[in-house]
C-alpha cells in the first residue's frame, strides 16, 4: 500500500484504493483500519471518513459475505411490481444493513447501477442481475449459498 501511495502525485488520490484494500482484508472498513489508512495517506481521520461514508461500496460496519446492492434508481422503481428490496429483507430476515443469520448476506440500497434496461436490478459480488422477480431472486440466493465463487471486493 505504501508503494501505491508513494507513486501518486498526491497521496489523497489513492484514498479509495487503500480503503478497498483495507476492506478486502477485514471484510469491511473498521475504525482501526480507517485510522491506519488515514495515517498512510496523510489525511486526518475526519477527511478519510468524509470519503468513506460518501461511497456506497465502502462498508463502515460489518457486513455479510455477500452484500446485495439493490438499485434505488428511478427506472428500477418504475418496474417494481412489489418492492425487490422488501422481498429480499423478508426472505433473509434482515433489515437494511443487517447481516443474515447465516452470516452470508447484507442488503443495502444503492444509487443507480446503470442496468436500467434490465430493471429492476441488483448487484451482488460484482455481478449484475435483472430483471428481478421473486422467483429469480430465490434462485440467485440459493446459488450464492451453495456454489463456491471468488469474492469480488470491487469491480
Amino acid at each position: 500500500m505504501q508503494a501505491e501511495i508513494a507513486v501518486a502525485e498526491h497521496p489523497r488520490e489513492q484514498a479509495i484504493n487503500i480503503m478497498y484494500a483495507v476492506q478486502g482484508h477485514y471484510g469491511y472498513l473498521p475504525d482501526e483500519g480507517l485510522l491506519e489508512a488515514a495515517e498512510l495517506l496523510d489525511l486526518t481521520p475526519l477527511e478519510l471518513e468524509e470519503l468513506a461514508t460518501f461511497y456506497d461500496f465502502i462498508y463502515r460496519r460489518p457486513v455479510g459475505k455477500y452484500v446485495i446492492h439493490v438499485c434505488d434508481g428511478v427506472v428500477c422503481w418504475m418496474f417494481h411490481e412489489n418492492s425487490v428490496f422488501e422481498y429480499l429483507c423478508q426472505k433473509l430476515g434482515v433489515c437494511a444493513g443487517e447481516i443474515s443469520a447465516d452470516g452470508l448476506f447484507t442488503v443495502l440500497p444503492t444509487a443507480c447501477i446503470g442496468f436500467c434496461d434490465h430493471a429492476p436490478a441488483m448487484l451482488v459480488n460484482g455481478r449484475l442481475y435483472g430483471p428481478l422477480t421473486p422467483l429469480l431472486i430465490d434462485e440467485i440466493l440459493e446459488k450464492l449459498k451453495t456454489e463456491y465463487c471468488d469474492l469480488v471486493v470491487c469491480k
Binding site: 486526518t44 481521520p45 475526519l46 477527511e47 468524509e50 460518501f54
Partner: protein, 817 residues
C-alpha cells in the same frame, strides 16, 4: 463592467460579481443559506433561485452560481421562482425539529426568516424525522445536529476558508452529518466563526447558551483588544454583563471573521474579583475620600521630593483618550512624562516600527489577502495575531506564496516555506535580502553561512513578484528588525515592485502608546528610576507590570522602594492588589466611547455596549432584576481614567484644571499625524495615524551577510506568545481558561540530543531569578540554538531580565520523577 437588470432596476457591477451580490447592491436580499459573501458560492441549498427572463441564461437558475453578465434581465419575484423557493424551503424544513422556543438561534435565525418569507407555513410531511447524535465540540461551540439543513457553510469555512482538517461533512444525502470524526474540542482557533455562519441553531455559542434572545441584549459595535490587529466585533450584553462577541464586517481589517481569543476573551469584564470600589490601604472607602487621599499624598511627594519623583505608567491596552489624557495630566502637573511600556525593549521595538510606517508602504490586513508573496519575519501569526494567519491563507488560496523566517515551530493552516532562523540571523537575512533586491550577488562572497543559498533563492523569488508584503513581528526580534524590514520594502519599491509593510505590535493600542511616547531614548527605563529612588510615587494606569515584566524579583524590589503606588484598572491584577490606592476604571464595553489604534495606525472607535455596573449574576444568584429601587447602578462606581485624572487634578492642594480644549486639537498640535482627525466622531472611517510621505530611503550599507555569532554551549531563551494563555485580558476570561493548552518548553532535536533530553521530559530551567520547571517538547521545525517558552499564565516564567536571554547548557536539567 457588465450591466444587468434585476427587478426592473439596472445596475452595473464589476466582472465576476454573482447575480446574488449584484441584487444585494440594489438592496434586494435574495433568500440564501449556503452563499455567504465571505465564503463565496457553493450552490448547495438551492434557495436563491431566481428567474432569468432575458440574456445569456434563461429560466430558473441559482443566483449565487451565475456571474452577472451584460443583457441579463432577472426577476426575483417571478411566480415560478417564488414557487420553486417555496418548495425548497419546505424540503429543507422537512426534518427540522421546530424547537425554536428552546433554541438559542431563535429570534435571529436565518431559517426562521426565510421559512416565513418563503411562504412555507403548513407542514405536509407527516413521516418520521431524521435524528442524529450530537457531539461534544469543546468549550466554545454547542452542537445540535437535528436542526441542520445541510447548507455546508460550516464546513466550507472550517476546511476551505480557515484550512483546519478536523471538522467536516460525513455521510451522504439525507443522512449527511457535520461534525468531527469523534467527540472532542475543535482544533481550529477560528472555530467560533461557524457559530456566526450557521444559518440556524446547529452550532451555537456555548458560553451564551440559554442567556437571552437577540432583543434581550444590549448590542453595539465594539473592538477586539486581544492583539494589535483591532478586529471589529459586535458585543452583546445583558444584565450588566457581556455575554457574547461576534465578528463584525470591516472591509479593511478583519473581513467577516474573528478568532476565538477575540470572541471569548471578553469575560475579564465580569471577573468576580474585578475592582468595583475605590480602595485606600486595602479598605474600600468613599470615592471622594480616595480622591482626596491620593491628591494629598501625590502632591506631598511632589512637593518634598520634586515633581519628577512622581511617575505615571500608562499602557498599550488603554484607549487613546486615556493615554493622551494621562500625558496631558502629567504635563499640567509638571510631573515626568508618562511611560507606556514596562518592558523597555518592547517600547523601543514599537517606536522603531512606528517610525518607519508611512502611508504608501502600510498595507491593511485585507490587502494582505491580495499579495502574491508574503514574507513573514519574526512573527508567529496564529499565536501572536491569529487573524493574520487567515489573511495569509487567503493570499495562498489565490495563488500567492508565503515564507516565514522565524525561529519558532510556526504552524500555519496551509503550505508555506519555513526557514527557522534564530534572532540575529533574522536580521542578517533581512540585510541579505535587501542587498539582493538591490542587485548584489549574495553568493559571490563565499560566505560560510549554510542557510545563505536558501535566503538568496527566497530573494530571487521575492524580486519576481508584483505585490509582495513584508510582515514583521515585534515579539522576539531585535530592536533594529522593524527598520530592516522597512528598508527591504523601500528597496523592493525602488526595484519597481508594489511592496507593502505590515507590523505586528504588542498590545491593542501599542501604536497609540508608541505615538505618545517621547521620541528617542529620552527617558531612563522606569525600573531604573524606581531602583535609584528617583521616583517615589508611581501611578499605574491600566497597566500591570506583574503581567509582562520579565523579572519578577527585580520588579518587587523596585516597587518596595516606593512610598506610594496608585493603580487605576479594571483587572484584579497583582498591581491592583498591591497598590496603596486603587481607582476602578471602565472596560471598553462600558458607558464611554473609546478609540484604539491598530498596528497599521488605523484609528477605530468602540462605542459602549452597556452602562456598566455589577453583573446581575453576581448580585442576585437567580439572575432576577433587583426588587429594590436605587438611584444608582450597583457596582457602577468605576470611571474612565480621564475622569479620575481630572478629579485628581482638581483635588490637588493647588488645584490644576486640565486644559479645556479638545483632545484632538491638542494631539494634532503635538503630532501632525493627528491633524486629519477632526474629532472622534467625525474622523473619516479608516483614518490612519501615519505620515503620508515616504522619506528618502536611508539604507545602511549591507554588511557581508553572515550568521550571527553566538556563544557556544548556550541556548537563547525566547519568551513568546501562545494563542490562549499569554494574552493579558483573555487570560482573565473564564471562557478562554479551559481552552488553554498546558505550556511546554520547546527545543530543537539537535540541542535535545546534546542535553540528552527527549519529548515529555520534565525540565528544570535555571534562570537569573530562580528555577522553573516545565515539560519539554522537541520540535523539528524550529531553529537550533533556541529555547521557546510561552509567557503562560500557568507558568512562573518571570525570572529573566528580558524576553530574550542566553541560558547555559548546564542550566537546563532533567528532573527525575
Amino acid at each position: 463592467m457588465p450591466k444587468l437588470i434585476i427587478d426592473q432596476r439596472s445596475i452595473e457591477v464589476p466582472a465576476g460579481t454573482k447575480v446574488i451580490a449584484a441584487a444585494e447592491k440594489l438592496g434586494i436580499m435574495i433568500p440564501r443559506f449556503c452563499y455567504h459573501p465571505g465564503l463565496g458560492s457553493f450552490g448547495a441549498c438551492r434557495m436563491c433561485a431566481v428567474k432569468f427572463l432575458e440574456g445569456p441564461v434563461k429560466g430558473i437558475e441559482m443566483s449565487c452560481m451565475e456571474d452577472a453578465r451584460d443583457g441579463m434581465v432577472v426577476s426575483t419575484t417571478d411566480p415560478e421562482a417564488m414557487e420553486f423557493r417555496q418548495y425548497v424551503i419546505e424540503w429543507l424544513m422537512m426534518h427540522h425539529p421546530l424547537d425554536c422556543p428552546v433554541c438559542d438561534e431563535g429570534g435571529h435565525c436565518l431559517l426562521q426568516d426565510e421559512t416565513v418569507s418563503g411562504g412555507h407555513g403548513r407542514r405536509r410531511y407527516l413521516g418520521h424525522k431524521r435524528t442524529y447524535h450530537d457531539q461534544y465540540l469543546g468549550v466554545f461551540v454547542q452542537h445540535e445536529m437535528n436542526r441542520c439543513i445541510h447548507c455546508w457553510r460550516c464546513r466550507n469555512f472550517y476546511q476551505g476558508f480557515a484550512g483546519y482538517r478536523d471538522y467536516g461533512a460525513m455521510q451522504i444525502g439525507n443522512r449527511m452529518y457535520f461534525g468531527r470524526y469523534e467527540d472532542g474540542p475543535l482544533e481550529s482557533p477560528f472555530a467560533g466563526n461557524i457559530i456566526d455562519l450557521c444559518p440556524t441553531g446547529v452550532l451555537t455559542d456555548k458560553p451564551c447558551r440559554f442567556v437571552g434572545r437577540r432583543w434581550d441584549f444590549e448590542r453595539a459595535p465594539s473592538l477586539c483588544l486581544h492583539c494589535s490587529l483591532g478586529c471589529n466585533t459586535t458585543g452583546s450584553a445583558r444584565y450588566r454583563q457581556m455575554w457574547r462577541q461576534e465578528g463584525r464586517f470591516n472591509e479593511m481589517v478583519n473581513g467577516y471573521f474573528i478568532c476565538d481569543r477575540g470572541r471569548y476573551g471578553f469575560a475579564y469584564e465580569s471577573h468576580p474579583e474585578r475592582p468595583r470600589r475605590a480602595r485606600v490601604a486595602g479598605l474600600e472607602v468613599a470615592w471622594a475620600e480616595a480622591i482626596q487621599t491620593a491628591a494629598e499624598k501625590l502632591s506631598q511627594i511632589a512637593a518634598t521630593a520634586g515633581p519628577a519623583a512622581v511617575a505615571c505608567l500608562g499602557s498599550a491596552r488603554s484607549s487613546l483618550e486615556t493615554q493622551a489624557t494621562l500625558q496631558r495630566f502629567c504635563r499640567a502637573l509638571g510631573w515626568s512624562e508618562p511611560r507606556y511600556f514596562s518592558v523597555p525593549s518592547q517600547e523601543r521595538q514599537v517606536k522603531a516600527a512606528i517610525a518607519r510606517l508611512e502611508a504608501p508602504l502600510a498595507v491593511s490586513l485585507r490587502e494582505i489577502e491580495t499579495a502574491d508573496f508574503v514574507l513573514v519575519v519574526g512573527a508567529d501569526p496564529v499565536n501572536e495575531a491569529p487573524m493574520l494567519a487567515l489573511a495569509l491563507r487567503q493570499a495562498w488560496l489565490k495563488g500567492g506564496a508565503v515564507a516565514v523566517l522565524d525561529p519558532r515551530p510556526v504552524f500555519l493552516p496551509f503550505e508555506f516555506e519555513h526557514l527557522p532562523l534564530a534572532p540575529g540571523d533574522l536580521e542578517a537575512a533581512l540585510e541579505a535580502l535587501t542587498a539582493g533586491a538591490g542587485g548584489t550577488d549574495l553568493l559571490a562572497g563565499g560566505s560560510p553561512w549554510p542557510l545563505l543559498p536558501k535566503i538568496a533563492a527566497l530573494g530571487r523569488r521575492l524580486t519576481q513578484t508584483q505585490r509582495p508584503v513584508i510582515v514583521c513581528g515585534t515579539g522576539i526580534v531585535r530592536e533594529s528588525t522593524p527598520g530592516l524590514a522597512a528598508d527591504l520594502v523601500l528597496r523592493l519599491r525602488e526595484a519597481g515592485l508594489n511592496a507593502g509593510l505590515f507590523y505586528l505590535l504588542p498590545g491593542a493600542n501599542a501604536f497609540g502608546a508608541g505615538l505618545l511616547s517621547p521620541a528617542g531614548e529620552g527617558l531612563t527605563p522606569l525600573m531604573e528610576d524606581l531602583e535609584t529612588g528617583a521616583v517615589k510615587a508611581l501611578m499605574v494606569v491600566e497597566n500591570d507590570p506583574f503581567w509582562d515584566y520579565p523579572d519578577r524579583g527585580r520588579l518587587v524590589r523596585a516597587l518596595d522602594k516606593l512610598e506610594l503606588l496608585v493603580a487605576l484598572d479594571y483587572l484584579p491584577s497583582p498591581t491592583v492588589q498591591r497598590a496603596d490606592i486603587v481607582f476602578p476604571t471602565l472596560t471598553l464595553f462600558e458607558r464611554n466611547h473609546s478609540s484604539f489604534v491598530n498596528q497599521e495606525g488605523r484609528l477605530q472607535l468602540a462605542p459602549p455596549v452597556h452602562l456598566g455596573g455589577m453583573p446581575m449574576a453576581q448580585i442576585s444568584p437567580e439572575k432576577h432584576p433587583p426588587r429594590t429601587f436605587l438611584s444608582h447602578i450597583p457596582g457602577g462606581e468605576p470611571r474612565t481614567p480621564g475622569e479620575i485624572l481630572a478629579e485628581l487634578a482638581a483635588a490637588m492642594p493647588a488645584p490644576v484644571t486640565l486644559p479645556g480644549d479638545d483632545l484632538w486639537d491638542w494631539l494634532s498640535r503635538k503630532n501632525p499625524v493627528f491633524a486629519n482627525i477632526v474629532s472622534l466622531f467625525e474622523s473619516p472611517p479608516g483614518a490612519r495615524l501615519i505620515p503620508e510621505a515616504v522619506p528618502a530611503g536611508t539604507f545602511s550599507p549591507a554588511a557581508a551577510p553572515a550568521a550571527a555569532e553566538r556563544p557556544p554551549d548556550y541556548l537563547e531563551l525566547l519568551l513568546v506568545d501562545l494563542i490562549f494563555g499569554t494574552e493579558e485580558l483573555a487570560s482573565y476570561s473564564k471562557h478562554i481558561q479551559p481552552a488553554e493548552e498546558p505550556p511546554r518548553l520547546r527545543m530543537h532535536p539537535a540541542d535535545a540530543a546534546k542535553l540528552r533530553l527527549s519529548s515529555g521530559d520534565r525540565v528544570a530551567l535555571r534562570l537569573l531569578g530562580g528555577t522553573l520547571e516545565v515539560d519539554l517538547q522537541v520540535a523539528e521545525n524550529m531553529a537550533p540554538g533556541v529555547l521557546v517558552l510561552p509567557r503562560h499564565r500557568q507558568l512562573n516564567w518571570r525570572l529573566a531580565p528580558d524576553y530574550r536571554v542566553m541560558v547555559a547548557y548546564g542550566d537546563i536539567v532533567k528532573v527525575e520523577a
